[in-house]
Symmetry: C2
Subunit: 359 residues, 2 copies
């Protein structure tokens, strides 16, 4: 057995350490994908497929429902925080511990130890989650092999501190262009100041009253914010262009077009010459009313929370699969040099998933 | 006589061409300053001094009044527009024709041809006017040898199309800093948006009613304008800083401190945390009520106009010498590749100054 072969018999905490010590920065996931594929192919109850550095393994038991457990293999760049280190308080330190090799370890442990689950299972391991959206492995599989991702309910094992986070909000970024006419600032009356023209846009933003709708029992909090403003030619010139970039975070009961329509409506009459969409990713409904989701909630316990940030659950939502985030890592430690995970939480997360899938 | 020696016996138009063909981009004025100094030293009625590449020549006739005629030797970078070329319409083309070797030619012609003026005369030729203010030769002379610039009235031969432009407006640039608190834009309610906080500043600017006061019969037009705005950390972050840069162009009946006080007052209550002065240059009163100025106006004719832009007349004003702009060039052609001057205007300008100084 080569040294990188994964041992799925050790507990999830130890397996996390082994995964962490197999570096897999975005774009460099091949070795880890190989190891995951090899370990899964050794399990006779699973059919294993691979597309690029994305690995999908499925049971074929003919159950009434199919559950997808998904996680990404890649990490942000290593920041002098490898190899991993377990301290006396049971904290495992290192790049990718929370985000999200602890979650991947739980996936692998369920794959290895639950050969006859009460629902058919699909395990998805994908690459390039931490980089530009168009590189995302889950997106590539969804495009090329959507049937691999079919299911009734999906759990994304992203860090959520062992709490269920339902769905996710959508995000839309739009550049609002205001125009004017250049002139020398000593003769300002000969021009029209594009920065002054942005005043009503900022006033509208400051007075904006966001919706906080409740969906499937979860309160989502919309928000509309300027995330950038730029204008100015030189210290003695009346500027002819000012651009305000706004970011609309919206609840998953809106679609992408509805979100854009709303932004246009908010700024109606503000003199915006052009609305340039810079980025748009739809939200995902939590789907907590689905029987599989109810059973999942009952098994893992706790109060589900809404997810405000955008995550890959949105990709499942787009495929018609309700999805939640549920993983042992701490999202506040993700991407940090002092990233760590509480190993007790990794084990507990594994146990609760097993309880749900074997009850 | 070396080829670069100036011939002050030729008319002002031909002398302009000779000056233009002796390149003197800012920082490279030594050869032209040498030629000017040499030509002036050949005139027995003048005392000549030099400080760096700045040359000052004075009559010592004990007249009741002293007039300063000033001009800069440097030009903006040559843009393929040398040597000079005189066309059949009497237009002289080339770098520095309008701004302002035509004016320098007029100064030199008066120096050479009016040995017994009715008022004592001071001729000032200085370097580095087209670059950063701290390099300006007139400023350096004013600091090191202020007595060389003493006088009752000054004429700066900057391009003004042969019209008298009185005084100049002041200019003040201030950076207004608005603060907030960073947060992820998916959880905007946890932060405070500094860009939104700039709304009242822009509204105040848009609604600003400038003064257009009349001073010595000239209408000055104040103006307060944003010339820059910047804010934003990343596409998903509530920004904690937004800076609006404003430029206040003010009439010369205000001083620098008054101008800054006014800007602070305009934005009172807008939540500006800091007013950072970026640039400040006082205006200059036209001083057209002075007897020497009245005689000058009568001699050169035309209706005096206010000068909206900032010019070096402000430096004379700071020394207690009222000053105007009056030169043969066209300010709209300054710094342009197709810069040119109407030679008839150069000659006329010379004649009118001579009439004033010999009447």
């Amino acid at each position: 057995m080569p040294h990188s072969a994964l041992d799925l018999q050790q507990d999830a905490a130890r397996l996390t350490a082994q995964l962490v010590d197999l570096p897999s920065e975005s774009g460099d996931e091949a070795a880890l994908a190989d190891a995951v594929e090899e370990a899964l192919r050794a399990l006779p109850h699973l059919d294993v497929d691979r597309y690029g550095n994305n690995v999908v393994a499925r049971t074929r038991l003919g159950r009434a429902e199919r559950i997808v457990l998904a996680g990404h293999l890649d990490t942000v760049p290593i920041a002098g925080n490898l190899p991993s280190r377990l301290d006396e308080d049971g904290l495992l330190w290192g790049c990718g511990t929370s985000d999200m090799k602890a979650g991947v370890a739980v996936q692998l442990r369920i794959a290895a130890t639950v050969p006859e689950p009460n629902r058919d299972l699909t395990f998805v391991f994908y690459d390039n989650e931490e980089v530009a959206a168009h590189l995302n492995g889950l997106g590539k599989v969804a495009e090329a092999r959507p049937e691999w991702l079919a299911g009734d309910f999906a759990v994304l094992l992203e860090p959520s501190e062992g709490q269920v986070e339902g769905g996710c909000q959508g995000t839309l970024r739009v550049r609002l262009h205001l125009r004017g006419t250049r002139a020398h600032s000593a003769r300002g009356w000969m021009g029209a100041n594009a920065i002054h023209a942005a005043g009503p846009v900022l006033e509208r933003l400051a007075g904006y009253q966001p919706r906080w709708p409740v969906i499937d029992g979860l309160e989502y909090r919309e928000g509309l914010n300027a995330v950038g403003v730029e204008g100015g030619v030189a210290g003695n010139v009346i500027p002819d262009l000012c651009t305000v970039t706004v970011n609309f975070r919206y609840a998953p009961d809106r679609g992408e077009q509805d979100a854009l329509d709303h932004v246009r409506e908010v700024f109606a009459g503000c003199g915006v010459e052009e609305f340039e969409v810079d980025d748009s990713s739809p939200g995902a409904l939590p789907g907590l009313a689905h029987p599989a989701a109810r059973a999942f909630l009952a098994a893992v316990g706790g109060e589900p929370r809404p997810k405000y940030g955008w995550t890959d659950v949105s990709r499942f939502s787009a495929l018609g699969v309700p999805a939640v985030n549920y993983g042992p890592g701490d999202p506040n430690l993700a991407h940090k040099r002092d990233e760590r995970v509480e190993t007790a939480l990794v084990t507990r997360c594994e146990e609760r998933l097993r309880r749900w899938l074997t009850a």
